[in-house]
């Protein structure tokens, strides 16, 4: 599409020097971005670059600390004017906001029924309007169907239709493809192209860089809260894009993502000639819809990274290894012993410990003390006739608290009272308490401060267990001896320790193969 000229035309939406601070983190730093009608734009950036904050400001969920958000040349109203915001901008989030137990038509007109008399809804008329609406926006589904029975892609398109119905012609898609299969992705893109021709403008947030080139005219890159570059997609090739996302410090000629310790270990340890025994053997494991025949081996004392973006299948593979998820095929062996599929208790008995990704959902029991959380998997060891020795429990918990430098008033402090970083350390303590053979860590330093991070890294380096570190954070992956990269359910690349950040990012984005 030829780039139109915008001289004298107010942009559809714009930020003028906006800054936003959350606590001590400067999430956005003086960002000015114009979005012109008919000129869809992609916003790219690594985790924490400020993309979500940008979305929050543009959709009126948050007010900027400095600068302003303008629509069609006029400053946006107060964030309380929800109806105004809804009719100017809509965001389809990664997490669906469709209510699964209501029908398509009910979702489409949620709390805003077009044909009602004093609140009495004329369903026949409403249905007719819904059919028209969906037909207009090219969504072919039965309006009386339960929304929960729609496919993920159809639900997304239903959300887009709802936004369009509310009057908005500017739609933000926040990582819309993360949970879609490739067929659904192309359906979504067809839909987006059709809507673009009908005059809808999109702001597209995606980790998958090649998608940007498919559906956007322009691209903006955020890094550490600053707008690094804003250009027409044709003027920026993928290499430039990755460089802008990663930053100058990580140019191919300079520096390395891996730490010296890891590099030191590396010589010749990758091949089959490595004398160390294989501790964890994952043999062509598949998980329906997310992992396709993944194989990896970890030798004693080795730290292996499993990298990949959300939706790459890395979390599902990790869950299969720890027994949270039942694989559909393949075998997992620990020291030659096959794990019964989908059995967390057996996995733990055999010697696998786990630091889960979502520590609130399945990491710790907030109602229990730090001491109890740490001791939970090893109660058998510190009890006689089933009666827990409080003395031994306290001793082992105190040792772990000291080792991990968990900040508590004492070991009996309730875990829910701790800060996020210390909760994370408690979860790590629990994983280490059983002296595991294999340690599966998902984002082990998420949400912890820089000193705690260093402590956790030292602990991970110091453990005797074979470590599988699941993450897409380059600084976490850097402590691994080698890194396997997953993309679209497959392990696509393996890096020895001396990789560079841009290579890693490219591999995770599925660019280099």
């Amino acid at each position: 599409m030829p780039e139109p000229s915008f001289d004298g035309v107010a942009p559809l939406a714009a930020t003028r020097g906006v800054s936003k601070r959350y606590g001590t983190t400067l999430a956005l730093d003086n960002v000015s971005l114009k979005i012109h009608a008919g000129c869809s734009i992609a916003v790219a950036g690594r985790n924490g670059a400020g993309k979500s904050t940008m979305v929050r400001l543009l959709t009126g969920l948050d007010l900027p600390d400095a600068g302003e958000v303008r629509f069609a040349g006029k400053p946006a109203p107060d964030i309380a004017a929800r109806a105004w915001w809804r009719s100017n901008v809509a965001c389809v989030y990664q997490k669906s906001t469709v209510i699964p137990d209501l029908t398509v038509v009910e979702n489409l007109f949620l709390h805003d029924h077009p044909a009602s008399t004093f609140g009495y809804i004329h369903w026949r008329e409403v249905r007719r309007l819904a059919r028209n609406e969906l037909e207009l926006w090219g969504l072919e589904v039965d309006v009386d169907q339960r929304a929960g029975d729609l496919s993920v892609g159809e639900r997304q398109r239903l959300e887009i239709a709802r936004a369009l119905r509310q009057g908005s012609r500017f739609i933000i898609l926040d990582e819309p493809t993360a949970r879609l299969e490739s067929r659904e992705i192309s359906q979504l893109f067809d839909h987006v192209m059709r809507l673009k021709r009908a005059g809808v403008t999109f702001l597209f947030i995606s980790h998958h860089l090649q998608e940007i080139y498919e559906i956007c005219e322009r691209v903006a890159v955020l890094r550490d809260g600053r707008l690094i570059i804003e250009a027409a997609v044709g003027d920026l090739d993928q290499g430039d894009l990755v460089a802008a996302m990663v930053g100058d410090a990580y140019q191919p000629t300079e520096g390395t993502g891996a730490d010296p310790d890891a590099r030191h270990n590396r010589n010749g340890n990758l091949g089959p000639s490595d004398p160390r025994p294989i501790v964890l053997d994952v043999d062509s494991v598949s998980v329906a819809g997310s992992v396709v025949g993944a194989s990896l081996r970890i030798r004693a004392g080795e730290r292996v990274g499993l990298a990949g973006l959300a939706g790459s299948g890395k979390s599902e593979l990790a869950q299969a290894i720890v027994g949270q998820r039942k694989p559909d095929g393949g075998r997992i062996l620990v020291e030659g012993q096959a794990l019964p599929p989908g059995r967390e208790d057996s996995a733990r008995d055999i010697g696998i410990s786990h630091v889960p990704e979502d520590r609130h959902a399945n990491g710790f029991c907030g109602n229990l003390s730090v001491e109890e959380n740490i001791a939970l998997p090893v109660l058998q060891r510190i009890s006689s006739w089933g009666f827990v020795s409080r003395r031994r429990r306290r001793a082992m918990a105190n040792a772990m608290i000291a080792r991990l430098q968990i900040k508590v008033s004492d070991a009996a402090q309730r875990t829910s009272e701790l800060s996020g970083g210390n909760q994370q350390k408690t979860v790590m303590g629990r994983a280490l308490a059983s002296d595991p053979i294999v340690l599966v860590l998902e984002y082990p330093t998420a949400g912890v401060d820089i000193t705690s991070k260093q402590t956790l890294f030292d602990i991970i380096r110091g453990t005797d267990a074979a470590v599988l570190l699941v993450s897409d954070e380059v600084d976490e992956l850097a402590i691994c001896d080698r890194v396997m990269v997953m993309f679209a359910g497959r392990i696509v690349r393996e890096f020895a320790s001396s990789w560079q950040e841009h290579e890693m990012v490219e591999a995770m984005e599925g660019l280099s193969q």
Binding site: D345, L368, G386
Partner: protein, 342 residues
């Protein structure tokens, strides 16, 4: 983000680390004991008959069946589930046993089963019902509320239907023993209940089994990740709850010297009242059974005082309702307070 705050705070807490918090493990129970103290004082001021050994023993005995049932509900609440059908086990289990040992002349089965075997069968029935509830909730993943409500209605109907709505009396000694015997001057049921609370309290605070229940109630997924066999534990707790409810029924049968057709009816409301007053969390993972016991005793004393004051039974029920609401509000308003887990 609280990252830097965390670092700053950590410096402070490290400096303050030697100053340990006072270890008041029985904080909640202490507050309840104070309330019990107040109730006793009020009672003795209002009625000279209140503070007599006979009356107090009477209160304890009347509370003993309820307390066993509260114990059953408390452990089920601690794992984060609940069971409404417990009160129907109080009726149906002894009714079944009484029916087996009674002649057809008094609406029994005429089977004249050995009374000791009948006592054993009371527990078998209770545990079987609990196990079945556990199966429905753990394996079929049915909602605990509606499942146990249906079970309550079903069992209530069965126990009335078994004898055409008649009361069974003239029961053999073994069926009555626990509810009317005295050991060392106190009713046997009071001793049994005290023993169960003591054992239960030790198991819940010091045994692996008990700690696992708190972990499951707090966060079942985290407990599972720690290698706890969550489903088996929940199932076991339902079975134990059923067994305890049967014991409660046996004790009640002895005290009444008969099995009423509606035995146990409406007890479940008082059970929840006592558990809530005793600070057992309905969301699981929190509370101690000693707190629940305090709740039972407090309710027993209040009900006794009201009875002595010739207050009609229905007003006593209304009082219970008011007390539950009040204790819920108090719990919510004091929830921000720091709370020790052990």
């Amino acid at each position: 983000m609280a990252i830097d705050m965390d670092a700053q705070k950590s410096v402070l807490t490290m400096a303050a680390a030697p100053v340990r918090r006072s270890r008041l493990r029985i904080g909640d129970e202490l507050a309840l004991l104070q309330l019990i103290g107040v109730a006793v004082i009020v009672g003795s001021l209002l009625h000279p008959a209140f503070l007599t050994p006979t009356n107090l023993i009477n209160v304890l005995q009347q509370s003993s069946e309820l307390s066993v049932l509260v114990l059953a509900e408390a452990i089920i609440l601690i794992v984060g589930k609940f069971d409404l059908s417990l009160e129907s086990i109080v009726g149906v289990a002894p009714m079944f046993a009484a029916w087996l040992v009674s002649s057809t002349a008094i609406n029994g089965s005429g089977l004249m089963v050995n009374p000791y075997l009948a006592v054993l069968l009371i527990f078998v029935v209770g545990i079987a019902v609990g196990t079945f509830n556990g199966w429905l909730i753990v394996r079929l993943k049915l909602n605990a509320f509606i499942t146990t409500l249906a079970m309550l209605i079903l069992l209530r109907g069965i126990s009335i239907g078994m004898t055409n709505g008649r009361t069974l009396y003239d029961l053999p000694g073994p069926l009555l023993y626990l509810g009317n015997a005295h050991w060392l001057g106190l009713p046997a049921s009071v001793w049994v209940s005290a023993g169960l609370y003591l054992t239960g309290s030790i198991i819940l605070s010091n045994h692996r089994f008990g700690r696992a229940l708190y972990a499951i109630g707090g966060n079942a997924e985290a407990a599972r990740a720690a290698g706890i066999r969550v489903d088996q534990y929940i199932w076991t707790v339902f079975a134990i709850g059923g067994g305890l409810a049967a014991l409660s029924g046996l004790m009640l049968t002895g005290r009444m010297a008969s099995v009423l057709s509606g035995q146990g009816q409406n007890m479940i409301f008082t059970v929840f009242a006592a558990a809530v007053i005793g600070r057992i969390s309905l969301n699981g993972g929190k509370g101690s059974i000693l707190g629940a016991l305090c709740g039972v005793i407090l309710l027993g004393i209040i009900s006794n005082i009201l009875t002595l004051s010739n207050v009609e039974t229905f007003w006593i029920s209304a009082t219970y309702g008011a007390i539950i609401l009040l204790s819920l509000i108090v719990t919510r308003l004091t929830a921000g307070k720091s709370y020790r887990s052990d």
